[in-house]
């Protein structure tokens, strides 16, 4: 090893908590990756804590400081300060890489005692080969230094079918990360994605977005409720697509209210919501045989109508046609095939973005529920008929995931399609990509099922603890590391990566600048 590249030397500690002395003049950071060269292999280690060390006792140092501060002696300093005072870094082994075949193993031994360490270099990361059909998430990061030559690619089918969790607080770059991932997904038709875009931020309706991907025309579908930009689709779902079970786990209906809904469905089938909204609640109540039952039915009917009206923003025009104010739901002939079209697109490996920014929380989840239910069923059918292997993996990208997979939701209501997918979707190649600020309110069983976590910065200790407890690698020493993650910095923990990888996610704008479409010039022949 070149002496100039040495940054420290192993001086003690135990497995998982090795102490090194930092070489004077170097500046180790939390999260820095370093290498300990050994026979035929090398260890990759990471700094998780830094502290001062000194050959002089504490009291003596304090006294010297007193001399400096109180006696006014200006130039009092240590004799050979670099030798006497230094920095101790606590590091943990992440991986052992065998040079012969670039095989990466979980380390089970300590580095050689007194071995000199250097910072990681691009050549040490040759094992990070891009596999076929993988998704780009960023570059390896050592502390705050980015190794641009070491790109991190995740195997798409494995990662998405085993669910992805993106825990982050606001402003840490989760939108940028999701856009980066989807940009890579758009390269091929190997991943189908349904993106419930509550902030209308991914497509790039008015600025830079996924629409600028060179394959956006073929692989990206954008549905928006009104005034779609040129080439985009109108998000209209016909009320006929909604069935009573789609409300389960999403909307709080009491048992009698649900019974009234099921009754309406049995009576009118396809047009049950329209008919229910046009039913006179008082007359419906009077039809009941006993008076008390009638009063109850009237009240129930009125509550159901009110809830549906609010949930779906339904109104009735003077001709008795039911319509929704935000134009997403239609009771006539529009949007009859929207759900099927979207499912078909996902099955073809396209990314479908639904602009749900004009919908309320529950309406957004309901629309997602209708599509996800059909999608999961189709994939189940494909598995039954032996055709699942030919389908692309499907993922449903959902923000504020605890709305549907939070402890309180799952204990107070029935399971919904999102929790079903989280629990059993893996068998059918359907997964969730859940984004959340609050991982701690997601049940441990579901968190443990999310086998890839891309952890962005989080200042809340409780949230960090929940993430660390459910990580695929041991992150017990990484609490401070996670807390100190800057915008765009992340740690990937996954059963599909050899160790918890510190990464830097590139700015989406830079990706677009480098790889986005360039405007065509020249004439087009029109017949």
């Amino acid at each position: 090893m070149d002496e100039l590249s040495v940054v420290g030397q192993v001086v003690g500690g135990s497995f998982g908590d090795i102490v090194i002395r930092q070489k004077a003049g170097t500046d180790l950071e939390i999260g820095d990756l370093m290498v300990s060269e050994e026979n035929g292999s090398f260890l990759i280690l990471q700094v998780f804590s830094l502290e001062f060390g000194s050959q002089i006792q504490d009291k003596m140092q304090q006294m010297m400081s007193g001399v400096n501060l109180e006696q006014g002696v200006v130039d009092a300093h240590f004799y050979e300060p670099d030798f006497v005072n230094y920095v101790l870094a606590r590091i943990k082994p992440l991986a052992r890489v065998y040079r012969e075949n670039n095989d990466v193993k979980i380390p089970k031994s300590l580095p050689l005692f007194f071995n000199k360490l250097r910072l990681i270099q691009k050549d040490d990361l040759k094992f990070l080969q891009k596999e076929k059909d993988s998704v780009f998430v960023g570059y390896i990061r050592s502390g705050s230094k980015v190794i641009k030559e070491a790109e991190v690619w995740l195997p798409a089918e494995d990662v998405f079918s085993h669910h992805v969790l993106i825990p982050a607080t606001t402003g840490r770059g989760k939108s940028n990360l999701v856009k980066t991932i989807l940009w890579s997904v758009l390269d091929t038709n190997k991943v189908g994605a349904l993106v419930l875009d509550a902030h209308d931020e991914y497509f790039g309706r008015t600025g830079i977005g996924l629409k600028l991907h060179p394959r956006a025309k073929e692989n990206l579908m954008y549905y928006t409720p009104s005034n779609p930009p040129v080439g985009a689709n109108r998000l209209t779902v016909n009320l006929q697509s909604i069935r009573p079970e789609h409300f389960e786990g999403i909307v709080n209906f009491s048992d009698p209210q649900f019974q009234a809904i099921r009754m309406a469905f049995r009576k009118s089938r396809k047009n049950w919501i329209r008919d229910l909204m046009l039913t006179d609640a008082v007359d419906a109540g009077m039809e009941s045989s006993s008076q008390s039952r009638g009063e109850f039915a009237t009240a129930t009917m009125m509550v159901v109508q009110r809830k549906l009206r609010l949930l779906l923003s339904l109104e009735k025009d003077e001709e008795g046609v039911v319509f929704s104010r935000h134009e997403v739901f239609d009771s006539t002939t529009k949007g009859l095939t929207t759900v099927d079209d979207i499912v078909k697109d996902i099955e073809q490996g396209k990314v479908v973005i639904l602009d749900t920014s004009r919908l309320g929380d529950e309406a957004e989840l309901l629309v997602g529920n209708i599509i996800a239910t059909k999608l999961l069923q189709k994939y189940k059918d494909a598995k039954a008929s032996g055709e699942l292997d030919r389908k692309p993996v499907a993922t449903i990208v959902i923000e504020e995931a605890p709305r549907v997979i939070g402890v309180d939701v799952l204990t107070s209501r029935n399971d919904n399609i999102y929790s079903t997918i989280a629990k059993e979707g893996r068998k059918f190649k359907v997964g969730l990509t859940a984004i959340t600020q609050l991982s701690s309110v997601i049940p441990k069983t579901i968190l443990a099922n999310m086998n890839t976590k891309i952890i962005l910065g989080n200042e809340m200790k409780q949230e960090r603890e929940a993430i660390i407890a459910s990580a695929s690698q041991d992150l017990s020493q990484d609490d401070k590391n996670i807390a100190s993650l800057d915008k765009g910095e992340a740690i990937i923990t996954s059963i599909f990566v050899p160790f918890a990888m510190p990464i830097k996610i590139p700015l989406f704008e830079d990706i677009v600048r480098e790889r986005g479409i360039t405007p065509e010039t020249g004439k087009t022949k029109v017949f």
Binding site: N189, G231, N233, T333, K334, T337, T521, V526, F527
Partner: protein, 417 residues
Amino acid sequence: MLFAHLSDVHLGFQKHESLQKIEQQVFEKCLDECITRKVDFILIPGDLFHVNIPEMRVQKFAFAKFRQVYDAGIPIYVVYGSHDFSPVANSVIDLLAEIGYITKVTRATSHENNTISLECIVDEKTRVKITGLSGLKVGKDREWYEKLDRDSLEAESGFKIFLFHGGILDMKTDTGMDGDQMPLSLLPKGFSYYAGGHMHKFNHQSFDGYSNVVYPGTPFAGYHADLEDNANGQKRGFVLVEFEDVVKSVKFVEIENTLYEIIKVDANNRKAESINQELLEKTRDIDPTNKVVIITVKGEMATGKTADVDISTIRDELNSRNAMVVNVSKNGLTSKEYSITEAKGNNKEEIETNVFSENIGQLRFDYPELLSEQGIKLAKKLLSELGQPVLINERKNEYIPRIRDNALAILGLDDAS
């Protein structure tokens, strides 16, 4: 003021003589109706003919009828459809336009900045402004819409009509429809009427910024599935639009074509013998005399081959009882023992797309345009062109270069010979 809107006539599609007669009669009835009702003009947004150069029989009666309409002083405005379009511009549409019986409304200019501007033509009598774009197979025309200078079109004042030929996703009512559809947002906004072709069922809807988007549907049949729809009660005809400054009414005018009988058999989890038995019984229950009889057998058989379902006996039986035509659809019939799932689809185009989609992944070429979605589109286009029949009186040494030139044009190659 009044105009008529018909589309997807697909003249020349029918192969059976009896159906050819109906095809002709329906077309003539539509135009007779336009003359009788004294419409100010007629719009035909594509697929007037089933192929770009139909057989002489078809051309003969079509020219005769268009002559009558011309003599009645009724202008006809058209765009190419995906069927009667030719990449080397040798469609019978061009011939009709050349002699002045019809007017092609696409007046497009391509600019160096890769945009396309359209100019409206003005109907002399009504001063209505009309423009539009042709439809190409497998949605190739989408590129034109993406490059369209829509601002200038949207700024045009007065009553204006846009002709287009293509499916609109926002108006889909049936999941089994052909997949080459585009979002409504590709059309320029603010026209008074959008005259659509390509979708074979009547559909009239309005959207924010797009009032009166209308498909009259085919007046008879342009796909085999249309006959089945007819047998199921689908009304056929064209559209009459009354207007002044704005559209006052859009009325569907039904044109009756012929009588139908339909026999449907669910083959799910059944053996061929039981299916054959049901077919025979159902055949005995109908009166097929002078009717088009549609037989559909769908589902997955429990055992045996799909060929074990004996259609020929049924066909003979119906023909002996003077059925006009017997059409059999076994597209949806599969067997657990012998199933080609790769070829499923609701119509010819969808089946072709599915077959290509299923198989293209096995190919390895250095040319990306031959692979994936692009490859499928190219293959479909090529297949369609190579399937063009020899025209009546067309000699082999005329037919071969015609097909070769068209095929090379599709492939974007020059003829090295």
